[in-house]
C-alpha cells in the first residue's frame, strides 16, 4: 500500500506582517519551529515517506527552511521530500494559482510515486495527528474520500471563514459551507483529505471541466452535492487554526501553559525541524526569566516575563521583555523595554527606550530593522 502525502500550502490565511515576504508555513513558532514542521512530522510519525509540499508563493522561504536535508524522511532513498511549485500558475495570478493546478503542473510526482492513497493536509491547522487510524477507517469503509473534522463549541469566535460540515447519521458529508460565526457548535473541516487514487484522479479531471479556479476543497464540496460519497473522521485532540496575526500571538502564549502544551507535544510523537546546532542558552547573573520558552543559542542578561525567545537572541542587561515573541538573531539592547510585540528576525532594538503594543494591538518590528 503506497501513500503519497501532499502538504498543501495553497489557500492559507495570511498572518498580516508576518507573511508579507514569507509563506505562513515557515513562520517561526514557539521559538524553534515553522508551522509546516507539525504536519510534516505527522506524516513522518504516521509512516508516510513520500511527501510533496505544494508551495503557492514565496518558494524561497520554504526552500530555505527545508534545505537539502531529509529531516522528515524515514528512508532517505525510498523516501521523498519534494517541493512542488507551480510557476505558470503563480504567473497567471492568484486565482489560477490553485492547489489543483500545482498538482497537475507537477504531475510527475503522482506518476512516479503511483500511490494507492493520496493524503492532502494544510500547515495552518496545528495539531498532533496520527493518520494511521484515519487511513484504516477509510479503507475499512471503502470510502472514496474521507475528510477530517473537529466538533467545536466556539465557532462563533474561532475558525471564522473555515469550512464546516453537515453530516448524516452515517457520518457522510451532506453539505459543505463556510463558518460565518452564526453558532458555536460546528463540525469544522480541517482541510485534511484522504482520497482513493481513482477518486483523486477523477476529481482533478472534473475540476478542470468546471472551473480553472476550483480548489480541491471546492471540487470535493461540488461533487459531494452531486452524489460523491464523502466520509468523515472525527478528531478530538488539540487543534488551532493559525489564521490571523492576533491568533498567532494568542495561540503561541497559550502554549506556555503546560496543560495546553502537553496536548500538542504528546508522547512518542516528536516534532522534527531542521537542526541548527546552536549551543544551549546561557543565563547571566543578572537574568530574571519567568514563564517563557527560550530556544538554544540565546544569551540572556535581562528580564523576561511571558515571552517566547527564538534561537540566537540576545537580551542585554537591564532590558525588559514582556508578553513578546522575539525571532531568531534579534537583539534587545541594554535598558530597552519591549511589551506586547513581535520582533521579526535579525532586528535590533537599540534606540527607542520603550516599545509597547497592547494585548489586542500587537506591535510588529520588521525583519532586519533597527529601532
Amino acid at each position: 500500500m503506497k501513500v503519497l502525502a501532499y502538504l498543501n500550502l495553497h489557500h492559507a490565511p495570511g498572518l498580516g506582517p508576518l507573511t508579507k515576504n514569507r509563506s505562513s508555513a515557515v513562520v517561526s513558532f514557539l521559538g524553534r519551529y515553522a508551522f509546516m514542521d507539525f504536519m510534516l512530522s505527522n506524516f513522518s510519525n504516521s509512516g508516510f515517506d513520500r511527501v510533496a509540499t505544494l508551495v503557492d508563493a514565496h518558494p524561497h522561504s520554504v526552500l530555505k527552511h527545508l534545505g537539502s536535508r531529509n529531516t522528515f524522511n524515514i528512508n532517505t532513498k525510498i523516501g521523498m521530500e519534494i517541493v512542488a511549485y507551480n510557476e505558470a500558475g503563480s504567473k497567471a495570478g492568484p486565482r489560477y494559482n490553485t492547489d489543483i493546478a500545482n498538482i497537475i503542473f507537477n504531475d510527475w510526482i503522482l506518476e512516479q510515486n503511483d500511490p494507492d492513497y493520496v493524503i492532502v493536509a494544510p500547515s495552518y491547522f496545528v495539531l498532533p495527528l496520527d493518520f494511521r487510524p484515519i487511513l484504516k477507517q477509510h479503507i475499512a469503509n471503502k470510502a472514496p474520500v474521507t475528510v477530517v473534522y473537529k466538533q467545536v463549541d466556539n465557532a462563533k469566535t474561532e475558525f471564522i471563514g473555515r469550512g464546516v460540515l453537515d453530516l448524516n447519521a452515517d457520518g457522510h458529508v451532506m453539505n459543505f459551507s463556510r463558518n460565518k460565526g452564526e453558532k458555536n457548535e460546528r463540525a469544522v473541516a480541517l482541510e485534511i483529505f484522504i482520497f482513493n487514487r481513482e477518486t483523486f484522479d477523477f476529481l482533478l479531471k472534473e475540476a478542470g471541466k468546471i472551473s480553472s479556479f476550483y480548489t480541491l476543497s471546492d471540487i470535493v464540496a461540488y461533487q459531494a452535492m452531486n452524489g460523491l460519497r464523502v466520509d468523515s473522521y472525527r478528531y478530538d485532540g488539540y487543534v488551532r487554526c493559525i489564521d490571523t496575526y492576533q491568533h498567532y500571538f494568542d495561540y503561541s502564549f497559550e502554549l506556555l501553559n503546560y496543560k495546553v502544551r502537553r496536548q500538542l507535544f504528546i508522547q512518542n510523537w516528536p516534532i522534527y525541524t531542521v537542526t541548527h546546532d546552536t549551543p544551549p542558552a546561557k543565563y547571566e547573573a543578572s537574568a530574571c526569566v519567568n514563564n517563557a520558552f527560550i530556544a538554544n543559542g540565546s544569551l540572556i542578561a535581562g528580564t523576561i516575563q511571558n515571552a517566547i525567545i527564538s534561537r540566537n537572541v540576545k537580551i542585554e542587561e537591564g532590558a525588559v521583555v514582556e508578553n513578546a515573541i522575539i525571532f531568531t538573531d534579534s537583539i534587545i539592547r541594554r535598558n530597552k523595554t519591549i511589551k506586547y510585540a513581535v520582533i521579526d528576525k535579525s532586528a535590533e532594538v537599540a534606540v527607542a527606550s520603550e516599545l509597547s503594543g497592547t494585548p489586542s494591538d500587537i506591535l510588529y518590528i520588521r525583519k532586519g530593522d533597527k529601532v
Binding site: 516534532i271 530556544a295 525567545i309
Partner: protein
C-alpha cells in the same frame, strides 16, 4: 594521490576514574555541557579543520558509541569524499585480538589507513575538551618536514607532573620526552594529539608490534623510540582552552569552565566560525516557570525549570520541580529533580529521579557523582 591527512580517534578506553558514568557508556560518549558528548569535540574539530576521513577506534561498550557516530552525519562528515567509520576490534586471518594499547589500536588498523594512502595521520583522543583547528598543526608539521608533531600547551610546574612533558630547542624540535615526571624539566605538556608522517608511523608501529616487552603505547613506547632514533619530532604550540576529562572532578570542572566561557564572544565564534556539532534531540525549547529563577547557567532545549538554578548545567529533557534548588551542578539528560530537593556541587547521571526534599552535598567540600545506586 592519497589523502593529505586522515584522522584516527582513540575512543576505546573505559575511563575507570569516571566510575558509574562509564558503566554503560564509553568515556567519549559521556554527556557534556548540557547538549554534547565528549567526542563531539574532536569530531567537530575534524570537520572544521578540513578533514574528511575519520576512523574512530572503539573497544569498551562500543555499540552505543558506534551508533552515536553513525556515518558521521552529525558532524557533516558524510559528504561525497568523506568517510567516518567506527572501528571495533575484529577477527582477522591472524586471529582475533583486543587492542592492547593506544599504539596497538592503530597498528591493528593499518590496513584501514593503507586504503586511503594517507601522507599524514592525525591521532586524537576521545576524551579531551578543546576547540582546535588541526590544519594549523598540519602547517607546522609540513613546514618543519617533521616525522612527528606533538601538540603542546604550557602548564604550571605543579601540573607538569601529571602530563607527558616535552623539552624543545629554539626551533621547537623536541629534545626530550618524559611521562609524568617527578621533577619536570619543562612546562610543555603533550595534549595527546599527534600528526605522524604515515611512513614513519607505519614502520614504527610494525617494529613496536614485534617487541614483546612493549606496552604498545604512544607515550611510553613509540615517542621515546622515535626520539632515540633521532627522528624529526617537533612541537605545535596551542594556547587555547584544553582539558582532559578523565575524572569526575575534571569533568565537573570542565563543565563549570564552559558556563563561565559562554559569553558574547563564545556565541559569535560558535555561530560564524567554529560551531560545535552534536545530535539534535528534537526537543521543545526549554521552559522557565512563573516562579523559577535561573542565573549563571547553561540550559539546553527540552528542559523544564520550575525551581531555582544557579551556576549549573541543565541538559535536555531535565525537569526541575518547584522549590528545588540546583547549584554548581551538572544535571545530565532526562533527570527529574523533585520539589524542594537541594543539589550542590554534583554531577547527576542521566534519567535519574531525585526524590522530593532530597539534600545532596550541602557542604560542597568535594564534587559528588549521583548515580543509580546512590551518591559517590
Amino acid at each position: 594521490m592519497g589523502k593529505e591527512l586522515v584522522a584516527m580517534i582513540l575512543a576505546g578506553g573505559k575511563g575507570t576514574r569516571l566510575y558509574e558514568l562509564t558503566r554503560k557508556d564509553a568515556k567519549p560518549a559521556v554527556h557534556f555541557g548540557g547538549k554534547y558528548r565528549i567526542i563531539d569535540y574532536p569530531l567537530s574539530n575534524c570537520a572544521h579543520s578540513g578533514i574528511d576521513t575519520v576512523g574512530v577506534v572503539t573497544q569498551y561498550e562500543s555499540i552505543s558509541l558506534s551508533r552515536y557516530i553513525g556515518n558521521g552525519e552529525k558532524w557533516g562528515l558524510n559528504g561525497v569524499r568523506s568517510s567516518t567509520v567506527a572501528i571495533p576490534p575484529r577477527q582477522t586471518e591472524s586471529g582475533s585480538n583486543w587492542f592492547l594499547g593506544t599504539a596497538d589500536a592503530i597498528y591493528q588498523n593499518l590496513e584501514f589507513l593503507d586504503s586511503f594512502s594517507p601522507e599524514n595521520v592525525l591521532i586524537l583522543s576521545g576524551d579531551h575538551i578543546y576547540k582546535m583547528d588541526y590544519s594549523k598543526m598540519l602547517d607546522t608539521h609540513l613546514k618543519n618536514g617533521a616525522d612527528l608533531t606533538i601538540a603542546v600547551l604550557e602548564v604550571t610546574l605543579e601540573e607538569a607532573k601529571r602530563f607527558g612533558i616535552l623539552s624543545a630547542d629554539k626551533n621547537d624540535r623536541i629534545t626530550e620526552f618524559e611521562e609524568k615526571p617527578r621533577n619536570p624539566k619543562s612546562t610543555l605538556a603533550s595534549m595527546g594529539i599527534y600528526i605522524f608522517n604515515y611512513r614513519v608511523l607505519k614502520s614504527s608501529l610494525m617494529a613496536d608490534a614485534k617487541d614483546e616487552t612493549s606496552d604498545h603505547d604512544f607515550g611510553k613506547n613509540i615517542i621515546p623510540t622515535l626520539l632515540a632514533k633521532k627522528k624529526k619530532l617537533f612541537v605545535h604550540r596551542f594556547d587555547g582552552y584544553w582539558k582532559d576529562v578523565g575524572t569526575v572532578d575534571s569533568l565537573w570542572e570542565a563543565n563549570m569552565d564552559l558556563i563561565d566561557s559562554m559569553d558574547e564572544d563564545f556565541y559569535t565564534l560558535d555561530k560564524y566560525h567554529f560551531r560545535l556539532f552534536s545530535e539534535d534531540t528534537n526537543s521543545v525549547p526549554h521552559y522557565v516557570g512563573k516562579k523559577a529563577r535561573v542565573t549563571n547557567s547553561v540550559v539546553n532545549q527540552g528542559a523544564i525549570i520550575l525551581g531555582e538554578v544557579d551556576h549549573s548545567i541543565i541538559s535536555n529533557e531535565v525537569t526541575i520541580e518547584s522549590g528545588a534548588r540546583i547549584t554548581n551542578s551538572v544535571i545530565m539528560p532526562g533527570v527529574t529533580v523533585g520539589s524542594n530537593a537541594r543539589i550542590n556541587k554534583a554531577i547527576v547521571m542521566s534519567d535519574l529521579q531525585i526524590d522530593e526534599n532530597t539534600i545532596i552535598n550541602p557542604d560542597g567540600d568535594r564534587v559528588v557523582l549521583v548515580h543509580q545506586g546512590g551518591v559517590r
